[in-house]
Symmetry: C2
């Protein structure tokens, strides 16, 4: 599905990339909105957008597809405005990397049958338009989550990602999506920080940690505010996954306290077997 | 301290390296013992030893310094033999990477005033004599742990490492040593396996894990038997360190359940600050 008029709210790295690629892919009118006029000018100059919209309402009223490429809180705040001004037959999606809350907010705003959430699993080098890359979504995994029992809007949004961005969309329930990112992205980050936090609080001072400690704790280097926002956004799924980590920890503690070689072997073997199936 | 006659029990990678470097450094007589005649022949051919001893007793009776470069269980078993046959004024040390139990075993064997534990913090490519490297200990950290209140034997053993091997010995209580390696070596391994084990047991199937999960779980690839032996050998210190990991996990779970942004920020910031002080 290739809209004739696309509206992109937020012209940072993600929104800028979306607008830019749509323009390159032949979408006739690409409206962009940003609270920063400088970002709007940069997007116009690059040819990423055809119109710099004076307001979100102006943009929504003129678009067949509206993409909210804004931070999570802004996305939640904008959904009622989108619901009020979206044209008949037009669709809205977003790019927040946890979907349960966004889908609920869309339902509350009365957008359920005109909304599907998106999560492009893409990492850009920075947050501003300067880091926008039109090819960012080519062959990239994009999760698309329905907001109602009717999968129609999700199928259209998935087709939009495939047609305009050459992406690989996957339609998935919001709860399944959130569990998957809790395990694949948030849990590794949190377990890395877990070791670092324990070392910071209770570890010996003035000692040298080796390659293993550096590998295990590397994701703890991520920006705290970003990590915190993502964890809070997906906290139900992360809390559930952390309960499973707690169970695994309990098993290890028991095996070690009891000096139970067989239990320890089984525990370590499960871990090693799972790890060998990943790439190095 | 450079002995005139050194005895090395075990001619694998570590014992082989020790014997070989001692020979190169001008120790007049280097006796080696191995249960494997082939390993003895290889060590003789390489010039790593001057004599292949027919028994541990033969070796102990003729050495000024005896190094037990054997697996932990063998080391424990050999200490009474060493105690029985060690010459007056001679010293014994070992290379087991956890020291509390070895030091206790030396005390039980009546060796306390003629023993100091060693832990050369060196990783060799394999276990056999073929992987021996005379230069393996040059500038390497070697922990030396006293077996009694008298630090005399530890100082002599430390000087032996510095003089013959050009190593950097550090004298440390066995309990402090074991806590340090629990934190710096065993805990990273165990936390890596903790994430892998939780993923293996409770994680979603058929999903793609990214760079972060691969980094965090990499140490779980270590050989299970080796990891298990090291953990059991140092289990008191590892169990204590794991209690601190459990506390850190509890703090994170509470902050997430309560949606406590300030607590989550503090938790993540401690982790990030600690990590930034390590090398990349």
């Amino acid at each position: 599905m290739r809209p004739d008029a696309l509206g992109v709210v937020g012209l940072g790295a993600v929104g800028g990339s979306i607008a830019w690629q749509a323009s390159l892919a032949g979408v006739r009118r690409v409206l962009g909105y940003s609270p920063s006029p400088a970002e709007g000018v940069a997007a116009l100059r690059a040819g990423a957008i055809s119109d710099f919209a004076p307001s979100v309402r102006f943009l929504v009223e003129r678009s067949e597809v509206v993409v909210l490429a804004t931070p999570p809180t802004t996305t939640f705040d904008l959904l009622p405005t989108v619901a009020r001004h979206l044209r008949p037959g037009a669709l809205c999606t977003d790019v927040v990397p946890a979907k349960g809350r966004v889908v609920q907010a869309a339902q509350r705003a009365g957008l359920a049958d005109r909304f599907a959430g998106s999560h492009p699993a893409v990492t850009l080098t920075a947050k501003t338009f300067a880091a926008a890359e039109p090819a960012a979504f080519r062959r990239a995994l994009v999760y698309v989550t329905p907001a109602s029992g009717d999968e129609g809007p999700a199928r259209e949004v998935a087709d939009f990602w495939a047609t305009v961005f050459d992406a690989d969309p996957v339609i998935l329930d919001a709860a399944d999506h959130d569990a998957i990112v809790a395990w694949t992205r948030h849990l590794p980050q949190v377990v890395a920080a877990l070791l670092a936090r324990a070392c910071a609080t209770d570890g010996p001072r003035g000692v040298t940690y080796g390659t293993e400690a550096r590998d295990v704790t590397r994701p703890a280097l991520a920006t705290v505010a970003t990590a915190r926002d993502l964890l809070l956004l997906n906290r139900e799924a992360v809390v559930t996954a952390l309960d499973d980590v707690e169970t695994a920890l309990g098993g290890l503690q028991r095996a070690l306290r009891d000096g139970d070689t067989a239990a320890l072997d089984a525990w370590l073997t499960d871990a090693a077997t799972w790890r060998r199936r990943l790439e190095p």
